[in-house]
């Protein structure tokens, strides 16, 4: 019984943090996300072995994902992981096309096969393979040659989304790994939300110490300090439940699915709550484009809606109990 990262896991965390800090300082994130600069680190990412970390272990993946969230790195790694979890033999870079137009249930596509349109497909431009969901819980691997990508307007500018039309070509995937894969995808997304929440909590605490009004740091007012304490509670809670779920996916299959649904529900809400509250703590300055807070807020809001929102994941938890 030991709820600490191993030395190896801590080393992975350090590497991720250092590499992301070097390649994706927030100014660089803004250049890519807001000014359209090209993101060109994929080869390095491959060299670091991160695209295949799905084979390595879910805790390791969650550790890297948290750092991804904390840095807002606009790399297509997360959507590639999702594709690779669903299609472990995938070659090149993948992504997942899961949302029917007008659909709301992440687990219930009504598409009749890999023919039709999907919305909100992450990192579609440059992807080699799309994993496309269809009715009856089927999954297809579709090469980019069979997909027409139309950029969409993403709420979160650090993560481009597209509308993608598939012409029907593609290979159906088989196996009994889809259930675990979707739960692992949820945990990875939840881990990113933890990273967002943690970074924004730290920013808020720092600001509350520095900003003075009425000759006192605003953090000396309970309206602010208790809001920060709440951010901390939810962030810590979210990180714990994400690590539990990640660990359980590899070591405790009985608990894993409910843990994963719990992680996505709780971490999505935590990141959203933290960012909304952080905006209040920051006051006017946090509402400006030049401040970084809105980028985190938009990531939190978008991520909360990706791969099933907290309401949907809670309903899965309810179904397991009731």
């Amino acid at each position: 019984m030991n709820f600490e990262l191993t030395e190896d896991q801590r080393e992975i965390k350090r590497t991720a943090r250092d590499w992301l800090a070097a390649r994706y300082p927030i100014a660089r994130v803004r250049e890519i996300a807001l000014d359209g600069a090209a993101d060109d680190t994929w080869d390095e990412v491959v060299e670091l072995g991160w695209p295949e970390i799905t084979d390595f272990g879910m805790v390791e993946l969650a550790v890297v994902a948290e750092e991804l969230g904390a840095s807002l790195a606009p790399t297509p790694l997360a959507s590639h992981w999702a594709a690779r979890l669903l299609h472990p033999e995938l070659e090149g870079r993948g992504t997942v096309a899961m949302w029917d137009e007008g659909g709301t249930d992440p687990a219930a596509s009504t598409m009749d096969g890999p023919a039709g349109t999907k919305i909100a497909v992450p990192a579609a431009e440059g992807a080699d393979v799309f994993i496309v969901t269809a009715s009856g819980g089927r999954h297809f691997a579709v090469p980019s040659s069979a997909a027409t990508v139309e950029p969409a307007r993403a709420l979160d500018p650090t993560r481009p989304l597209s509308t993608v039309t598939f012409d029907g070509a593609g290979e159906e995937l088989s196996g009994d790994h889809f259930g675990r894969a979707w739960h692992a995808i949820a945990v990875a997304a939840a881990a990113e939300s933890v990273g967002v929440a943690a970074r924004v909590t730290a920013m808020s605490v720092q600001y509350a110490k520095e900003r003075k009004q009425f000759d006192r740091p605003i953090g000396s007012y309970q309206a602010v300090s208790h809001a920060c304490a709440q951010m901390f509670l939810e962030t810590e809670g979210a990180r714990n439940v994400v690590l539990w779920a990640a660990w359980a996916l590899d070591h405790d299959p009985d608990a894993a699915f409910m843990a994963a649904n719990s992680a996505k529900a709780y971490a999505s809400d935590a990141a959203v709550n933290v960012c909304r509250s952080a905006l209040q703590v920051h006051g006017g300055i946090g509402f400006t484009w030049e401040h970084d807070l809105h980028l985190f807020l938009k990531r939190a809001e978008a991520n909360a809606r990706a791969f099933g929102d907290s309401t949907w994941h809670r309903e899965q938890v309810a179904a397991a109990h009731l």
Binding site: W99, G103, T104, P106, I119, A120, A152, R153, A154, L155, D156, L161, Q213, F214, D215, Y221, A223, V224, R276, L279, Q280, G283, G284, I285, F287, T288, W289, E290, L293, H294, L297, E301, A302, R305, A306, D309, T311
Partner: protein, 374 residues
């Protein structure tokens, strides 16, 4: 107790409603300049009818109408999705301040161009270091002959780039206690030493500006309400704004609510239905708080707590409403749509702008409930 309109009020409403129907210029064009011209033309049309300064005394070009008639106007404007008025800050704050505290010469000089939108007004109160603690502001004004020389920085100045005049609060006495050393000026924006820079918000729009003032001059006759008396002048205007605002805000919420109802019509999702109902109920609570405010105002008393409660409740409510609008889109909420994404993001500032919710709670606790100051 009677929540109906009097026959005279009903007649005003009907006349107003017909006038709006005849003059409504349609959908606002895109683009800052086109939008500004559109709003200015709309205000001019309203002013030609005599209604731009509806509650202003007739001697200053107003219609001398009651607060209730003003409320009727807000509701009818909202109902008809009428455009905003170009000179909203001049009409609701600048003009009333000049009427209450200005000299005869100031009234003569400033009021008519406010109504006609020939001169647009903006407000220079907040500073980067002085938000909730407004009285700590640092912009200073030093007397130099027959003019004050002003240096400092203001922020959140809506419409500054279209404005001729800025209601400027600046420190004239650095030795006095912080509330006692401020003066309320009318700053001519058309001079060297005044630089306006757009301040882009998280919505991507530049609704506000930053104002950099470096050696701008204000003639002494542009002091309003006396040197070092600026805090009192500003605060009465702010209270005025907050009480009247509640009505305008609730009218806009009703419109957004009916738009959301149209979108959600027929939804079976009990969670969405509950959240919608809660928002609808709170919108009524907000409307009734505004009615209470009208009743207080009609009795001629000081603005009651309704203003602070209304602003606070509105912020909570508008955030809940716009979040529901976003959430109801499901996974498509990851994408920007034409309505709710913007509204959701814009609403995040509702609990900050015009008095943070924390400050409003302090006001209610201290001034209404008599709890000791922190």
């Amino acid at each position: 107790m009677d929540l109906t309109l009097s026959p005279a009020e009903e007649e005003f409403r009907d006349t107003l409603r017909a006038w709006i129907a005849d003059h409504h210029p349609g959908r606002e064009p895109d683009g800052d300049e086109a939008s500004f011209t559109f709003r200015r033309d709309w205000q001019r049309a309203l002013n030609e009818r005599g209604w731009a300064g509806l509650t202003w005394p007739t001697e200053y070009g107003g219609a001398g109408a009651t607060q209730i008639e003003q409320a009727i106007l807000f509701e009818e404007f909202a109902r008809a999705r009428a455009p905003q008025l170009a000179n909203v800050l001049g009409l609701t704050m600048g003009g009333p301040t000049v009427i209450a505290h200005g000299t005869d010469e100031q009234k003569e000089r400033f009021l008519a161009p406010i109504l006609s939108a020939d001169e647009i007004w903006c407000q220079g109160f907040s500073e980067p270091e002085s938000g909730s603690d407004l009285a700590s502001l640092k912009t200073k004004a030093v007397l130099d002959g027959d003019a004050y020389v002003v240096t400092g920085q203001k922020v959140w100045t809506t419409y500054a780039h279209h404005s001729k005049w800025c209601m400027l609060l600046a420190r004239t006495n650095p030795d006095a206690p912080k509330h006692r050393g401020l003066t309320y000026f009318l700053l001519d924006m058309e001079q060297d030493g005044v630089e306006v820079r757009p301040l882009v918000q998280i919505t991507g729009e530049a609704e506000f500006n930053e104002l950099f003032i470096d050696g701008a001059r204000i003639p002494v006759e542009n002091v309003v309400g006396g040197v070092d008396n600026g805090w009192r002048v500003a605060i009465t205007t702010l209270m005025h704004e907050r009480a009247g605002l509640a009505f305008a805000l609730q009218a806009r919420v009703q419109v957004a609510l009916s738009e959301l109802a149209d979108e959600l019509k027929g939804t079976k999702d009990p969670l969405i239905r509950q959240r919608f109902a809660q928002v609808a109920i709170e919108a009524q609570v907000l409307r009734l708080l505004a009615y209470r405010g009208l009743t207080s105002a009609a009795k001629g008393g000081e603005p009651g707590p309704e203003g602070s409660l209304g602003k606070w409740l509105w912020a909570d409510l508008n955030q809940a409403l716009t979040t529901l609008g976003l959430d109801a889109r499901g996974p498509a909420g990851q994408l920007v749509d034409d309505v709710w994404t913007y509204r959701f993001l814009r609403a995040r500032a509702n609990s900050i702008e015009g008095g943070t919710t924390e400050i409003l709670k302090n006001i209610v606790a201290e001034r209404v409930l008599g709890l000791p100051r922190a």
